[in-house]
């Protein structure tokens, strides 16, 4: 380390000149070893953190002011902005596609379904909207909400911003269920077999992982994580095995399609299957967001602040697993939504789960809707997969954030 300069160190603060004397500044952290400029230098040279940039982009650059506001005010502002985004994304998604439908017609069609006469539209347009695009969008929004909320919950429970809703095996379990349904030909017999099988698989995997972590009566989050990794690997192998031994090429294509995650040909039945589970799961988690805040500080902290740690954690895990399982059942595995959405929102809104969880719901919906719209229209008339697109966009963006925020560091 640097040489000791007794003469300068013994100076009283009052003796220091007004202007900043850079040589006197004591540097913090790794910068004290000399080769990297410290934070204040970066700031001075105009470097801007991505969250600040994002906030400025949406006209909300006073992050401090925002975080000082009460929970209700923060929720109102946040859901106002994100709600408009959802609405915009939904209208855009309803309007675009092989049959272009003007936004004004879209609005008229939707309003007409609640008996409001607003404007002219064609019969075909109405069918396309009501029977094809709207259910798809509602499924997409539900899936996005489920993944966003489950992601925020898992990241809170595991005290780790890298946690993902799939961490406890739900996605892999859902995949095995879906693949099994396709392989035994159940999908041909009953068109909802796929989501039902996937949901059962997801729940079974989740129970398995949880059961392993609870063996011997002493539940541990570390064991849960490791059991999740092991079960995920095992179920992944099961899926691969089925793919390898499957003779039927058509089924194979169907499996690969499902694994890539998509929202094509979703119907109102899909909404009916997944919707209730997702909404109940989200509702339960919303009731426990304050506990999630305390759990993030550690079990002892939470307990000393009045949280019944064991039951609370189980309820949160179950609710998140149920919502994710339902989402996986109707959309396949859509990667990165559950990881990126809460992560980005935490950078912008702070870690208070009372705001973060509901915002992650809306944010996840925006993410999925936009990804699906792009996936649907980018290579018309063919369709890209929303899961693939989400990962294509989500992963690089996430890496960008990681590099940008490396200094703030995570507790890993």
């Amino acid at each position: 380390m640097g040489r000791v300069r007794p003469g300068k160190l013994t100076r009283k603060p009052g003796d220091l000149p007004e202007r900043k004397v850079t040589t006197l500044r004591i540097r913090e952290g790794p910068s004290s070893f000399g080769d990297r400029p410290d934070k204040s230098d970066t700031k001075a040279s105009g470097g801007e953190k991505p969250e600040v940039f994002l906030l400025r982009a949406i006209g909300l650059d006073r992050i401090q002011t925002y975080r000082q506001a009460g929970v209700a005010a923060r929720l109102a502002v946040g859901s106002g902005i994100l709600g408009l985004l959802v609405l915009g994304a939904a209208l855009l998604s309803l309007s675009l596609g092989p049959v272009e439908i003007p936004v004004s017609h879209v609005a008229s069609i939707i309003l007409s379904s609640v008996r409001l006469d607003f404007g002219e539209f064609g019969r075909t347009e109405q069918l396309v909207i009501e029977q094809i695009r709207l259910p798809r969008i509602v499924v997409g929004a539900c899936v996005g909400m489920a993944l966003g909320v489950a992601g925020a919950t898992m990241q809170g429970l595991f005290r780790n911003p890298m946690a993902d809703p799939g961490i406890i095996g739900v996605s892999a379990g859902g995949a095995v269920g879906a693949v099994a349904a396709i392989a035994i030909g159940a999908t041909g017999a009953f068109f909802l077999a796929l989501p039902v099988f996937a949901f059962v698989g997801a729940m079974a995997a989740c129970f398995l992982v949880y059961g392993i972590a609870a063996v011997g009566g002493r539940f541990s989050m570390a064991t849960l994580l490791l059991a999740g990794v092991a079960v995920n690997a095992f179920l992944g192998a099961v899926v691969s095995a089925i793919i390898i031994i499957l003779p039927d090429n058509e089924a194979l294509r169907e499996i690969l399609f499902w694994l890539a995650g998509g929202l094509d040909s979703r119907t109102w039945e899909h909404v009916q299957i997944a919707g209730p589970f997702i909404l109940v799961g989200i509702f339960v988690i919303l009731l426990m967001t304050r506990d999630l805040n305390l759990l993030m500080l550690g079990d002892d902290e939470a307990r000393s602040m009045g949280v019944r740690v064991g039951p609370t954690r189980i309820i949160l895990l179950a609710a998140a697993a149920m919502a994710t399982g339902a989402a996986v059942a109707v959309s396949g595995t859509i990667a990165f939504v559950g990881l990126v959405t809460p992560h980005v929102l935490r950078l912008m809104l702070g870690p208070d789960h009372r705001v973060l969880v509901p915002m992650s719901a809306v944010g996840g919906a925006v993410f999925v809707l936009l990804a699906d719209t792009v996936a649907r229209t980018i290579i018309q008339p063919a369709e890209f997969r929303v899961g693939v697109l989400a990962a294509f966009v989500g992963a690089p963006f996430f890496i960008f954030l990681l590099i940008k925020n490396k200094r703030q560091a995570y507790s890993l």
Binding site: Q64, R67, Q68, G70, V71, A72, R159, L287, R290, N293, L294, M296, L297, G298, D300, E301, R303, S304, M305, G306, V307, R308, R346, G350, P351, D352, R354, Q408, S411
Partner: protein, 281 residues
């Protein structure tokens, strides 16, 4: 029996075992309302474990804790948290919460499931921060604060909890001398106003200066208990801490003071290990 009404905390025959190691071994403790009790003892004596047992974080295999006459085993954690606060020895990682957000968490035990903090909750939090001189970094995230500043924020959170019983686990371990005095003066004032406090200390003189009574622990047992004048003496300090010491009344502050002279006879000094550079070349 009639002093039971006045009892804030009582522990009877508390025993807690981890992997064949008794961290608490038949501990009895009784703290009256409006009393400040200091726990002293060497590393591993069981001070933190006792505090955790009293706060209900840890359930002992044996014995019972009563808080204000109620059996801890029959209280919900939320009931406990509404009347008892614990300042942890080591502040946990705070994941980007600001000081204000953390202090407001102290109000959670007083809120219903569907409630958010009211203006009066915010005022309580702000007052707690002003008392601990942490209001200046109310809107900074805790990871940007120094260890001592962070420790004061956790004291502020405990105060925002408005407890009747305050447990502090080495509350001054990271504080500069000024803030050691400020925080403990504050706790002392609150105690004089009716709060009950139990605190673990390493600094014997500080413990003697602020506490009404000291409880000396060693190996999971209570060795001695009483006012500093009665408890602190060179023999006890040498037995418990393995340190030769002089104990006297400080002529300036008037409180019992311990001067540490050196390791007791028979204690092997730490082995002389050469570090890095010298041995490498």
């Amino acid at each position: 029996m009639n002093n039971q009404k006045n009892q804030a905390v009582s522990a009877q025959d508390l025993a807690y075992q981890v992997e064949a190691q008794w961290l608490l071994d038949g501990v009895n403790l009784s703290v009256d309302k409006g009393e400040m009790v200091g726990l002293i003892g060497p590393n591993g004596a069981g001070k933190s474990t006792l505090l955790r047992a009293i706060s209900g974080i840890l359930r002992c295999q044996d014995g019972a804790v009563t808080l204000e006459g109620k059996d801890l085993a029959n209280m919900t954690v939320k009931d406990v948290a509404a009347g008892l606060a614990l300042v942890p020895q080591i502040a946990p990682y705070t994941h980007g919460f600001t000081s204000m957000e953390l202090v407001l968490m102290g109000r959670y035990p007083h809120l219903g499931r569907f409630q958010v903090e009211s203006n009066s909750d915010e005022q309580i939090a702000r007052d707690a921060m002003a008392m601990t001189e942490t209001d200046q970094f109310a809107n900074r995230t805790l990871d940007t604060l120094s260890g001592g500043e962070r420790q004061r924020v956790f004291v502020a959170r405990a105060l925002a909890q408005q407890p009747r019983i305050l447990l502090l686990d080495e509350p001054t371990s990271n504080l500069d001398v000024l803030h050691q005095l400020m925080v403990l003066d504050l706790v002392r004032q609150l105690v004089d106003a009716g709060l009950t406090a139990v605190a673990a200390f390493h600094d014997l003189s500080i413990a003697a200066r602020y506490c009404d009574r000291l409880v000396v622990m060693s190996g999971g047992e209570v060795i001695a208990t009483g006012p500093a004048e009665d408890v602190l003496n060179p023999e006890l300090i040498e037995t418990v801490f393995k340190v030769k010491a002089a104990v006297y009344r400080d002529p300036v502050t008037g409180s019992m003071t311990v001067s540490l002279i050196g390791p007791a006879n028979g204690v092997a000094p730490l082995r002389n290990i050469s570090i890095g550079r010298n041995s490498a070349k």
